[in-house]
């Protein structure tokens, strides 16, 4: 589903945002001539107990055998009828609200008609013109990415191409058939491969935090697609072509694939040609994207409202209730942790994987503060795996372990200054290096001071003291 009204996309100016982004030499020089126009489509399998349109167990990755979670509905047997999973609808709306979307009070499911052996009914139940959620935004460090729409659909079965008894065969596993799948479509707000990565990482964090999907990318529980094209900086119209890169199953590949496309498309444009409108795949072995098929227009899917599923109407009150049930979201927690505990964003970002984690670490920081331990030091130790938290995790025990590992000796300030002065005086070469900008010699000074004092000193404090002395000596 990619129905992005051109009017909306056309209004965005992206060029100015490119300035501060650290890019590889190649892409930054390319981008001075062209700018990337990129929107993303991300699919995530919801982890409801049952499938989207039938009562079968939704657990495709842990199934002990193929085709054990199937029924007449998800096998597309004659007479099978879909019944929508209410939980999946509720979760889609939850995600929409978390991303600041408007929720359509009236929406419905549509049939997307196409043939493929992994699609048992010959159509996929999806949403076309009235998705559950529209117009949201995901904030990233590299700029906001507006959400065009979020809709709910069913996943396909899984094809496996194998050789059995010397014969090449294609096998179909229907355990995944009709598993609920949300699709999150952005506006073309993404202006670099790094931006795409930042957006998708943030999106995954939110989805996981809401506890509605595992987003296991290796298994295909979360799948990334990037619609890319290039234009000259200053142009506001959408380019006349669009290349969709599909089947990307890691953030790293996403970055590589987009950068590859920037290079590939700019070479074609340089030659005075227009890149073909098509769908491409990513091959990590070759480090290249490759042609999969010429892009079909949305209209070729012959969408029409699924007559088997009545339209869905919500009262605003129901939406408000879902909104009220939303937890405090990662972005907010990160800001608050910084304000309340001085915990750095890079640490918080990694600690907030789930609501349980967020709650537990918050309690940990409160107690740490009380015990005179800096929460950020603690957070840093956890992130860098210097502090392993034993299960079942206990707050008091964790703080104690950290304290023991990081015990520092107290030292008289005058005594310390004296030692520092001695070390500086004894190492004029290192001082000269420092003054020439080799600031990492500070580590050498710290080691010398520690050895001379014969004590385990607080690293941060020591660092500050030496810096102060060295700087004042100028």
């Amino acid at each position: 589903m990619k129905k992005i009204p051109s009017g909306i996309r056309g209004e965005i100016r992206l060029g100015s945002r490119c300035k501060n982004i650290n890019m590889s030499e190649h892409t930054s020089s390319t981008l001075s001539k062209y700018e990337l126009v990129c929107g993303m489509e991300v699919h995530a399998e919801l982890k409801t107990k049952s499938k989207m349109f039938c009562g079968c167990k939704n657990d495709p990755f842990r199934a002990s055998q193929p085709n054990i979670y199937t029924c007449p509905v998800c096998l597309g047997m004659p007479g099978g009828l879909p019944v929508a999973n209410k939980k999946a609808i509720e979760w889609t709306i939850k995600l929409g609200l978390a991303l600041g979307c408007k929720i359509n009070l009236f929406s419905h499911f549509d049939r997307k008609n196409y043939f493929y052996p992994d699609l048992p009914k010959g159509y996929q139940i999806s949403q076309y013109d009235q998705p559950f959620c529209i117009d949201g935004v995901v904030e990233t460090d590299l700029g906001p990415v507006r959400i065009h729409r979020i809709h709910l659909e069913e996943d396909t079965a899984k094809l496996q191409h194998k050789t059995v008894d010397g014969q090449k065969v294609s096998l179909i596993d229907f355990n995944r058939s009709s598993v609920p799948l949300v699709e999150i479509v952005t506006e073309a707000d993404i202006h670099s491969a790094e931006h795409a990565k930042a957006y998708t990482k943030k999106l995954r964090q939110i989805i996981r935090f809401l506890d509605i999907a595992d987003c296991d990318m290796e298994q295909g529980g979360m799948r990334l697609e990037a619609n890319t094209s290039l234009r000259h900086p200053g142009e506001t119209n959408l380019p006349q072509y669009k290349v969709e890169v599909k089947n990307i199953n890691s953030f790293r590949f996403l970055e590589k694939a987009i950068n590859f496309e920037i290079k590939r498309q700019s070479e074609i444009l340089d030659a005075g040609e227009v890149p073909a409108q098509e769908t491409r795949g990513w091959s990590d072995d070759k480090g290249q994207t490759f042609t999969q098929r010429a892009k079909e227009d949305a209209e070729e899917y012959r969408y029409f409202p699924d007559p088997d599923l009545p339209p869905i109407r919500f009262e605003q009150k129901q939406i408000d209730e879902i909104k009220d049930s939303l937890p405090e979201l990662p972005d907010k927690i990160i800001k608050r942790w910084f304000a309340d505990f001085d915990v750095e964003t890079k640490n918080s970002d990694l600690l907030i994987e789930s609501q349980d984690d967020a709650k537990w670490f918050e309690e940990l920081f409160v107690e740490a503060k009380k015990a005179g331990v800096q929460p950020n030091a603690l957070a840093n130790a956890v992130v860098n795996k210097k502090l392993i938290i034993a299960e079942p995790r206990q707050i008091a025990q964790t703080i104690k372990t950290f304290q023991q590992a990081n015990q520092t000796d107290t030292v008289d300030e005058a005594e310390l200054q004296k030692i520092i002065a001695e070390v500086i005086a004894a190492n004029p070469d290192a001082v000269a290096q420092f003054k020439n900008g080799k600031t990492n010699v500070i580590g050498f000074f710290m080691g010398q001071v520690m050895r001379k004092s014969g004590k385990k000193l607080d690293v941060k404090q020591l660092n500050a003291s030496i810096l102060k002395t060295l700087s004042s000596g100028q």
């Binding site: 597309g76 007479g79 008609n113 052996p117 029409f304 009545p310």
Partner: protein
């Protein structure tokens, strides 16, 4: 002959133990072999007698029923009269047949139909046409032609059919039987091979209005497997029997249509009985039924093209090369009307006109309790009549399509018999959605006060 019993009679006698399962099935078996030429059943249930013996203490007491071959029956071949499903044995039971079996109904066999329910003649069946038991030179109508013929030929006690637009009422009319098409969403479609999902309505075909009411009671109601079924409790239609229709307002529609010149006077005369019984009968103006042909054709073809996409031969059945000419035509037309550039012109336009029909019926039902028309523009057509006409069904069902696309319930009762040909006309009585009792009231009164029901009034006696 016990196979000629009505459902009501059979239930009374079986429950009173005045007749045995063995006796009734003996007569059914005899009728099956005598009428083999009619080509009514595609698959017989070899265990019908044993199934019946174990059901004798249940409400339907083991009565023999004919089931249209588009209802999935676990372990019993289900083809929808298409060789695409020639070898298809369902692993599950449709809700309707499940309900019927639970209360002691027994499947005699699966009846012939137009392939995929595409047609009104049974002539699109890939297993040959069914003949009209009333006169074998003629067609039984369709698509539930096998079920209607099974009733008319007493090859069952009652039958289950399904209607998308006319497929219960038109063959019932042509075969001189009673066909009840419930409100869309009243009876579950789960396990019924889908034709046009937005209008498919399973329903009973019987020998009397009472029989269809009894069967309706057993199959109606919400089904958690079909989200288009209504959560409302279905009415007990047997309570609508033997009621006065005095003061009921009856609007007569479509009789002035030019295509009905020959039969209209016959029906008008028959409608006088309703006035005699105290109903207020008057002619009413409804939207031109010819507009409904276009709407129905576009919507139905669109849904068909999508509904038949699953028959790819990968998981079950034969591949697409087994589709017959009519199915291919419908798939192509439906695909076309949903395609880029045409969906607005055809599919969306059809949906808009559909809304106009809804509004028109709303207007009419403010004034009338029921609307009546003919079930079909004329008598049964001769064998072979559909073969050169790809719009055969649409024209034969012209008077029913408007009510089908709007989800209304309707019942067809015999209202005339031509002595020379022994062919029948059916009176179509329609009620507002969810108000089947109104039409049953009028249909029952009409049936009991006219001579046309051959089970109540055997011919020649």
């Amino acid at each position: 002959m016990l196979n000629t019993l009505t459902l009501k009679q059979a239930l009374d006698l079986l429950q009173a133990k005045k007749i045995s399962i063995k006796e009734i099935y003996g007569d059914i078996r005899q009728s099956l072999s005598q009428n083999e030429r009619l080509n009514v059943y595609l698959t017989l249930n070899a265990n019908m007698e044993t199934d019946a013996e174990s059901a004798v203490n249940k409400p339907l007491a083991g009565v023999p029923l004919a089931i249209k071959d588009n209802f999935c029956t676990q372990g019993l071949r289900t083809t929808a009269s298409s060789t695409v499903l020639d070898n298809f044995i369902p692993q599950y039971e449709s809700t309707v047949t499940k309900k019927v079996k639970e209360v002691g109904g027994v499947v005699v066999g699966k009846t012939n139909m137009d392939a995929w329910a595409h047609g009104s003649s049974t002539e699109t069946s890939q297993y040959g046409r069914t003949l009209n038991p009333r006169n074998t030179d003629y067609l039984p109508g369709g698509s539930s032609g096998g079920s209607a013929a099974a009733v008319a030929a007493d090859m069952c006690i009652a039958a289950i059919g399904s209607e998308t637009a006319g497929s219960i009422r038109q063959p019932s009319a042509w075969c001189g039987a009673v066909g009840l098409k419930p409100t869309y969403g009243r009876v579950s479609r789960y396990g019924v091979v889908a034709m046009a999902s937005s209008t498919d309505s399973p329903g009973p075909i019987g020998k009397t209005v009472e029989d269809t009411a009894i069967l309706f009671n057993h199959i109606a109601g919400h089904d958690e497997n079909d989200s288009t079924t209504s959560p409302q409790v279905a009415p007990d239609l047997t309570k609508a029997l033997n009621q006065s229709i005095k003061g009921m307002k009856v609007g007569v529609i479509y009789l002035d249509h030019p295509g009905l010149k020959e039969v209209a006077p016959l029906v008008k005369k028959e409608l006088e009985v309703l006035s005699t019984l105290g109903a207020e009968v008057e002619e009413a103006q409804a939207m031109d039924p010819e507009a409904s042909i276009g709407v129905y054709t576009v919507v139905q073809r669109a849904e068909v093209s999508s509904n038949l996409a699953r028959y790819d031969g990968i998981r079950y059945g034969n591949d697409r090369s087994f589709f017959g000419a009519e199915a291919r035509r419908r798939i192509m037309l439906g695909t076309y009307t949903l395609s880029k550039g045409y969906a607005d012109k055809y599919y969306l336009m059809a949906q808009k006109v559909r809304t106009l029909f809804l509004q028109d019926f709303e207007r009419l039902f403010k004034k009338y309790d029921v609307l009546v028309s003919l079930s079909s523009p004329g008598f049964a057509k001769k064998v072979g009549a559909s073969e050169s006409s790809s719009m055969f069904g649409e024209l034969e069902d012209m008077l029913l399509e408007a009510s089908s696309i709007t989800g209304l319930p309707g019942i067809s009762v015999p209202c005339y018999r031509d002595e020379k040909t022994n062919l029948f006309l059916g009176l179509n009585i329609m009620a507002p959605m969810w108000q089947e009792e109104k039409m049953v009231k009028v249909a029952d009164a009409f049936e009991k006060n006219t001579e046309w029901n051959t089970w109540r009034n055997p011919i020649g006696k």
